[in-house]
Symmetry: C2
Subunit: 303 residues, 2 copies
């Protein structure tokens, strides 16, 4: 089954305690697409400027990633620059040059209209909804968002959420969206807005999956000795999660849990290098082996 | 097997978003002893003042908790007052009246000298070592500490750690003790100081257990809809952890993992009420049922 992803394709300039990467490939759709492509064909919708050419596109070539939806506009590509704290748990944005992304109007190629899964990256909820209108009966619609839209376009975001099956956001965003300090209450409030599944990303503290009333699954992040750059880990998680769902027959609780672990697995590789560097050298057997590491990390015996 | 615990017995005055509790029973040894007593006899060493009498001792009565080591001194009992933030993830200390605890010199009754397990609560590392000198060949020595001793008595703490099998501290303390920002590196550095097992407590984000080189186990905290008061959760965790170890035959990796989940199970009850209130009404079948909830919370299928 194919996955449609709509989001940013960007240049990132990143400083972490491990070093600095200048104008490297980034953007939510980039991380998502490469991660998901290990499991499923991906249809990518985004926009880049004239400064984004074949060398940058090489990251997507040779993978089942369709680029017909990657628009090229006059102007410069979206550029984000940030600096991480010593413990990598917070970051300051130094500059955000939206450039062509400011005028992004997702255009869905007709061939993408039958994508069975849709991932709406973190863009204006109005645009997210317009994308959905161009896709016929997708099996799974997942969505990301951020504080900017939670505060700035609450009503529009609500309308989008009513059409979404899975919402993936971080813990702080879950609290802001719901107005609840407690994550269990937040999850109930958010599920009442539409998404029957809520995935709360907590960075190095892992992921919580909230499903049918009261059902909850907790997956840790893999404790890694060397974390080079956390940028894109959340989108990589989403790519592994949705890719796994696309490759699985149903959407059972068991499958959703496996998808969470697969997302965590992909994210654990993402942070081992700047940009998409580690994802681009990754092979499927490494992924399966690390999934097994998550099993070992979490297993304990009954009483 | 019996467990010797040395630590504080205190009055706590606590404010949380759920309410306020005035001069209620607290202290590391109190939470530890009650939690551990579900699994094993406990020998309690601590000190209280003249204001701590039979009504307060009632919490320990009717349980396998020996109070011969609970000294009663002239003066007032240790009193701590604190206020939690809205999300319960941080707290301000409003006052700390050490009172009789300032002069605490643990005296180990002769009958306690054969305790098979020892838990050294968060006290001066010099006192912790003096306690160990009074116990014959304990099977497991576990220890807690805090920033105050890590910064204030680093050399004394090192000497104590050299005699300890299991160190239980929070993530920030692990970073300060080791000088490493990364928890995996921190764990390696701390294990090199003596403790062959390190338990890193992360509050609502659960626990990481680091064992033989490279071996790691991650347990989540139970996402709870209602958290009344987190005070004592870490000591309650330690009590469940050590209690379970005392009741198990060996100290295998599998047993340590179960002990971590048992500690998390007890801690999940602790936070449901102020003081020890929930622990005092708890029955063993409830504990076993919640252990099973942790299994459900973390289980996922292989690929």
């Amino acid at each position: 089954m194919s996955i449609l992803v709509v989001g940013s394709v960007a240049y990132d300039t990143v400083e972490t305690p491990a070093g600095r990467a200048e104008r490297v490939l980034g953007g939510s759709a980039s991380f998502f697409a490469v991660a998901a492509s290990f499991f499923s064909p991906v249809n990518l919708v985004g926009v880049v400027g004239r400064d984004f050419g074949e060398p940058q596109l090489a990251a997507f070539r040779g993978r089942p990633i369709d680029l017909a939806g990657l628009e090229r506009m006059e102007g410069q590509t979206f550029h984000w620059q940030g600096r991480y704290s010593q413990d990598l748990n917070s970051r300051d944005t130094i500059c955000t040059d939206l450039n062509v992304f400011e005028f992004f109007e997702p255009k869905i190629p007709a061939a993408y209209g039958r994508s069975e899964l849709v991932f709406l990256g973190n863009i204006d909820p109005v645009l997210q909804r317009r994308v959905l209108e161009q896709v016929e009966r997708p099996r799974v619609v997942a969505c990301d968002t951020m504080n900017f839209w939670i505060k700035g376009k609450p009503q529009e975001l609500r309308e989008t959420l009513a059409k979404v099956h899975v919402l993936l956001i971080n813990d702080q965003e879950a609290k802001e969206l719901s107005g609840e300090w407690n994550l269990v209450r937040a999850a109930r409030a958010i599920r009442a807005m539409g998404p029957r599944t809520l995935v709360v990303k907590k960075g190095e503290h892992g992921v919580l999956l909230f499903g049918e009333e009261g059902d909850c699954f907790a997956a840790p992040a893999l404790p890694l000795e060397t974390v080079i750059d956390p940028t894109g880990a959340g989108d990589t998680f989403a790519g592994g999660f949705m890719g796994y769902l696309a490759s699985a027959p149903g959407l059972s609780d068991a499958t959703l849990r496996q998808a969470v672990v697969m997302g965590s697995t992909l994210a654990s590789f993402c942070v081992e290098a700047f940009s998409l560097d580690r994802l681009l050298t990754l092979e499927r057997p490494e992924i399966d082996a690390r999934y097994a590491v998550f099993e070992k990390l979490t297993r304990f015996e009954s009483l």
